[in-house]
Symmetry: C2
């Protein structure tokens, strides 16, 4: 029920995912409306429906998660808890989806904070950025965990054995940055965590393909992602304007329109998809609010792929490696955290409300 | 002496600034080399030279500021302290220039931390972003001061009476963000500081022209700036590639090459110039390390303009307004800081080493 074009485009995308890609789906929302849409595709009865009375509005955040226990997103979480679904896809507002899934699915054991991973349109293969805004005010140990989450995600999504991980910082040298990144660099460089740590990366490395995974706190990651999206939009608007400048330019533009359109599509956030919330007891794919059918189909395929790759188990294994190496090697770098090892595995539920991406 | 093309391009740019724009200059560096270059333009004796034995290397940071008290940048600072110069321009490494000028010029009275302001190529007029990386780990009160610094800078550079100021955050609503931005929003929204506060802005607003000044901590600002630069580079590389795709496309590209080159120039950081370090007892313009003569001429003109606009005095006035309003109105929002008013005007020198931009 979430998203600017719900439920019509959501259902169109789901039907396509089911028909063309064999993804097994359950649709959660207002049953009569869903039935009407499915009917249009001759798909009545082919995709099960679970009715939900309510839906979160796009602008609703953390509070709505408590106020609406029967929202479509809350019910979808319930299906995962019951084992009736392995993952969920929503085009609802990020804040509401994140808050509801944190509340209903809970953080998976050993993970301090969940993170939103997004896929950047780097070539030859995508770069994964996390956290794109699930959690602000994270600790250095949280960034190390994001490196583990990102490693597990890249192993499944990019089919890499040991994806390289960079720490988003303001300079290449280890001593660069603020307190958070300096300490996180120490922790990541200090031991074998099952993480292929490639050191610091900078803002211009997000699209350079230097590393497979870029780790940042949710504030910085969100600003970087939105800066990139805004810059791509501006650059293309300017190119279009430059091209429509004169008769000769217009003629040239005509010749190239299709190629440039392809390019724009590839760099457009509506095309390359939304984010994945990692670190909960279940996989949550957050499609863009503006998603049309094609984006929803991609999101369903992604959810399917992550569930098939057993992302939750893979994250558990990766995070366990992080802990082992930290308590196994008492270097200067991990002294502080090693002093309180007993609290780590049962870290308290995060208290801050999630940030909108 | 700083920069990839020093001293030849530096001196070529300075000669142009002097000849075409009437900027009064002093050249600081190795006198024999400077004389030789000036001779090539028939400018020997027309621009005074102050000899400096040493120069900072591009990679040298904070420590070099202490180790090389006779570096060209240290001597240039000395000229400002003596009143023999009003501003300095350098294409040296950002870390070294920032550290040396902080050490030699000191922070101006009432300013807690200096900030690097950069000019983004927004249309119809530029947007100013600060801090682009002078200081990491700033406090909320520091962000309020950046708003004052940015206001003074925009008044001179953009010739605006009341430039609008946005706080870089991860959502539009006041309650968005981490501890730092939430508190800074309270402070900025809470009273009249002589600042036209326009609320939160997001990453995609940096090039949208929504506000005249965007305020961020140095870590976030630096990541956003470099993300923008990297994205512009990638987008243009892709456009060029798309255009060279086929015979027809190549023909079209030929027709448009000049227009696109103009556009690329405008969006290229090497063209739109470096940053200005605000908040010290003197104006420091940091040109890009890769600067050629044209960028140095622009940097000299900018330094001249800021000195003529009495930027240091303007900042003092703006920052004083911030303090007055904070101690004058004891709202919930400014209670914490109002408890220790006596320390404010003589805030201690910052301790953290500056970050590279």
């Amino acid at each position: 029920m979430g998203g600017d074009h719900a439920p019509a485009e959501i259902i169109a995308g789901a039907v396509e995912a089911s028909r063309e890609h064999g993804v097994r789906l359950v649709l959660v929302g207002q049953a009569p409306r869903i039935r009407r849409e499915l009917d249009r595709y001759g798909f009545m009865g082919k995709i099960p429906i679970v009715h939900a009375d309510e839906a979160l509005d796009m602008g609703e955040g953390a509070l709505a998660s408590w106020r609406k226990p029967r929202s479509s997103i809350a019910i979808a979480c319930h299906l995962i808890k019951q084992g009736r679904a392995s993952a969920l896809v929503s085009a609802g507002g990020t804040a509401g989806v994140v808050a509801t899934s944190r509340l209903r699915l809970k953080g998976q054991q050993g993970v301090m904070r969940p993170a939103i991973a997004v896929t950047l349109p780097t070539r030859p293969r995508p770069t994964i950025l996390l956290d794109a805004g699930a959690t602000t005010d994270v600790k250095p140990e949280g960034l190390v965990q994001y490196a583990a989450l990102g490693t597990a995600y890249a192993q499944i999504l990019l089919d890499l054995d040991r994806p390289s991980v960079g720490l988003l910082n303001i300079g290449a040298e280890p001593a660069k940055g603020g307190k958070l990144t300096k300490r996180a660099h120490e922790l990541l460089a200090g031991g074998s965590h099952g993480i292929e740590f490639a050191g610091n990366v900078e803002g211009h490395d997000l699209l350079s393909g230097r590393v497979d995974v870029v780790v940042a706190d949710g504030f910085t990651g969100n600003v970087a992602l939105k800066t990139m999206e805004g810059t791509i939009r501006t650059a293309f608007d300017e190119v279009r304007e430059a091209m429509s400048g004169g008769a000769a330019a217009r003629f040239g533009a005509l010749l190239q329109r299709r190629r440039l359109q392809d390019l724009r599509d590839r760099l457009d956030p509506d095309t390359y998809g939304g984010g994945v919330l990692l670190g909960l007891n279940g996989t949550v794919v957050i499609a863009h609010g503006a998603s049309h059918a094609r984006a929803i189909t991609s999101a369903c395929e992604l959810a399917h792929r992550l569930a098939a790759g057993r992302i939750v188990e893979r994250i558990r294994e990766q995070v366990a490696l992080t802990r082992t190496s930290r308590f196994g090697r008492r270097t200067h770098a991990d002294r502080d955290s090693a002093e309180t090892p007993a609290r780590e595995p049962d870290a308290p539920e995060p208290k801050e409300p999630p940030a909108s991406a």
